[in-house]
């Protein structure tokens, strides 16, 4: 399965140029928001700027949609546009899979506001219909006229991994010619409150992916990353997603999705492949339960560009070999590794598209 196009909305902006710039630039200080109940009364966050979500062309059918849906529609639409296949695909065979850990919770709470403020019989039907988890997928389908199967899936740690598996089966079964698969999660005020009270915030604003700490620190983030997946390699393609987990030979880079959202990240130490350089971009995207999608985007970009971006935060108490931007040897594979709260690990392998096929 091949990544033919990508679209991203993050705290660092929208689109592939914004991704490149963010990876080039590295760490920048997060915003600080006021959150009651936290030790400092403040929480560092990576939030998507409101102006990032303005697009009167793409969002014309989603003009009443909430932030969650807007992020997803923009990322999905950009992925299709980035592939260059938008005009040639049979839209009745274009599938959509949206992965999310928490769904459009801000709209859910907005709906609860309606109940508390106006009573059960006077709530907004619009808020209700937009609070349903699959509203974003529906808007993507309407915006892009995608009439293939459309699914929204949820899992607190591996939603994106499961979405990728599903896209592979849809393509393998011939159910679709292409699948837009991606993740979206938002950071509303209530979630900020919950994060501030349940998790340790990074006082210096730096997520440390290589610390493998028993009390990791986080900087909650939000955003959306989408990929247009096709069976065959395309001209603008980025990378291939491999089936299975056997370690391929050749130049490999391992991206650790250690973002501070696990209660204990010591287990990441056992996931590191001996001799394989590691990196981690959570300090760019923020802490996200669905963060793997953003790391897959970073990995796919590096495979296409044959370029390694420096780890944005390089605290490295275990002396791991870090990915070196000056390493000009071929980059053949990227391994994205994520661990859940129970220590279970999921991996996604990306491979470079062979020269001459792209």
């Amino acid at each position: 399965m091949n990544i033919a196009g990508m679209g991203l909305v993050t705290a660092r902006g929208r689109g592939i140029p914004a991704l490149e710039k963010a990876l080039e630039q590295g760490w920048v200080p997060p915003l600080e928001v006021e959150v009651k109940g936290t030790p400092s009364g403040r929480l560092p966050v990576y939030a998507v700027a409101p102006e990032t979500l303005i697009d009167k062309t793409v969002l014309v059918k989603a003009r009443r949609a909430d932030r969650f849906t807007r992020m997803a529609v923009l990322a999905a639409s950009d992925a299709l546009a980035d592939s260059g296949l938008g005009d040639t695909l049979d839209k009745s065979r274009l599938g959509v899979i949206v992965a999310t850990a928490l769904g459009p919770h801000a709209t859910t709470f907005s709906f609860l506001d309606g109940i508390l403020d106006f009573g059960d019989a006077a709530v907004s039907p619009t808020a209700f219909s937009h609070s349903v988890h699959n509203a974003a997928a529906s808007y993507i389908a309407m915006t892009l006229e995608a009439r293939g199967p459309t699914l929204t899936v949820t899992h607190f740690h591996f939603a994106f991994h499961q979405a990728i598996l599903l896209a592979q089966t849809w393509l393998a079964d011939g159910r679709c010619d292409a699948v837009l698969v991606g993740s979206v999660d938002e950071l509303g005020a209530v979630l900020q409150h919950v994060c501030g009270r349940m998790l340790a915030a990074a006082a210096d604003g730096r997520i440390k992916p290589f610390a493998f700490s028993s009390a990791p620190e986080s900087v909650p983030g939000e955003g959306s990353a989408f990929f247009l997946m096709t069976r065959a390699v395309t001209g603008s393609g980025y990378a291939t997603i491999l089936h299975g987990g056997a370690a391929p030979a050749g130049g490999t880079l391992q991206i650790l999705d250690a973002c501070g959202f696990a209660k204990d990240e010591t287990g990441y130490g056992t996931t590191v492949r001996p001799g394989v350089p590691v990196t981690g971009y959570a300090p760019v995207f923020g802490s996200l339960l669905s963060g793997t999608a953003f790391h897959v985007a970073a990995g796919a970009l590096m495979l296409k560009q044959q370029k390694r971006y420096a780890a944005p935060v390089q605290d490295n108490p275990h002396g791991l070999p870090l990915g070196d931007p000056n390493d000009l040897t071929p980059l053949d594979h990227v391994l994205c590794t994520r661990m859940d709260w129970g220590g279970r690990v999921q991996e996604l392998w990306l491979a470079r598209i062979p020269v001459g096929r792209a």
Partner: protein, 388 residues
């Protein structure tokens, strides 16, 4: 590769088990009640599950309690142990309500003081249906919760089918669950789709839907795997189709093109022509739009003589549980050779050109169809088969 249904478990207002549900269907029993103050201050008819589920459990959502009940019956009927460690097991379950952190007390406290008790968050974080079931049975294969509104658990069965066919696991726990909750009662109420009386799917004078609650679980296994462990199960999932209307967030596409695509895809995957379908257990919510669009499509694909029923007259609309419950009811009807009366149906709607069954009716074919339509324009169709 044939994917067998080796076990089934159901719980809804129609019954707490397969046997109890079929007894209720045979008797035409409609266990309808009213919303209680604990659920909602709005007064509507609902299909609530009675019995041991009345006790609130702060550590586990009601949806999860319903789901575990159906799971236990499904594993037992499949002659499987409650611990499946060591087997290649996937878990794919659908829901709507259980996917949301929508605890009113939690949120009211947050609004009032800026502080909120975190116990509801802890319960929520342990309550992802697929994750919770995977932990309960020791499943280590693919695991995901489908949140596709009212087609969630039909899609979950379709996803499970794909997993087994692609060799990702040998056995899938597929289905879904949902509970009666203040949130969808407010929401559907705001959309003016509730009936003030017991729902009448497909009836000319239908006024809307009643909400219900429940869970349905199917154990899916590749035939070779099932036979190896001695299973004699014979019902099977023959095909699954899904397509999106790409039309509107809450209303079905008027021409039903998405549903028709889903149905034709399910038939193609089953490898059968439309006349092979003996009956359709329709989504049949009893809203004006759903039944008209769905009935028109069914007539277009199968002709006006196709036998159609909606079991929502016995269960209410159980949202994320509906697809799995109705797939199970469809399979049971094929097994036993009869379908119940479509409860609530009395008068033919001349705008809906299909024959809806008014009484218990014998069926003799090998295949049947269960359809699901959902918010977001999702359409799903499952073809279920039995051996010759």
């Amino acid at each position: 590769m044939k994917i067998l249904i080796t076990g089934m478990g159901v719980v809804s207002a129609a019954g707490l088990s397969v046997v109890e549900t079929l007894d209720g269907f045979a008797a035409g029993r409609r266990n309808i009640s009213r919303t209680t103050p604990e659920i909602s201050p709005l007064d509507y008819p609902v299909f609530a599950v009675a019995g041991p589920f009345c006790r609130p459990d702060p550590s586990r959502s009601r949806t999860l309690q319903l789901l575990f009940h159906a799971l236990d019956e499904a594993l037992s009927s499949a002659r499987l142990p409650s611990d499946l460690t060591g087997l290649r097991v996937g878990v794919c379950l659908g829901t709507t309500v259980a996917s949301q952190l929508n605890d009113m007390e939690f949120y009211a406290a947050y609004r009032k003081t800026g502080m909120a008790p975190l116990e509801p968050v802890e319960t929520f974080l342990k309550g992802n249906l697929a994750e919770a079931v995977a932990r309960r049975v020791g499943a280590e294969g693919p695991c995901v919760t489908i949140v596709n509104a009212c087609s969630s658990s039909a899609d979950a069965i379709g996803v499970g089918l794909g997993w087994i066919r692609n060799g990702m696991c040998d056995l899938v726990i597929a289905g879904g669950g949902d509970e009666l909750s203040r949130i969808p009662i407010c929401g559907f109420g705001s959309l003016s789709v509730f009936s003030r009386e017991p729902c009448r799917p497909y009836d000319r004078d239908r006024q809307g839907l009643n909400l219900g609650e429940g869970a349905g679980v199917l154990i899916l296994e590749a035939e070779t795997t099932a036979r190896r462990r001695g299973s004699a199960a014979s019902l099977f999932i023959a095909g699954y189709g899904a397509a999106c209307d790409a039309h509107h967030l809450t209303a079905p596409r008027p021409d039903g093109a998405g549903l028709e695509t889903a149905i034709r895809e399910s038939l193609a995957q089953a490898g059968i022509p439309a006349p092979e379908i003996a009956f359709v257990n329709a989504h049949g919510t009893a809203t004006r739009d759903n039944d008209k669009v769905e009935g028109t499509v069914l007539a277009r694909v199968f002709g006006g003589d196709i036998k159609v029923l909606s079991t929502k007259g016995y269960t209410g609309h159980t949202l994320g549980a509906a697809g799995a419950l109705e797939a199970a009811f469809t399979a049971l009807a094929l097994r036993d050779g009869w379908i119940p009366a479509s409860a609530g149906y009395e008068t033919r709607d001349e705008e809906i050109p299909v024959g809806v069954v008014r009484e218990r009716t014998p069926v003799s074919g090998r295949f049947a169809l269960s359809t699901s339509l959902a918010f977001g324009g999702n359409n799903a169709a499952l073809v279920i088969g039995r051996p010759e």
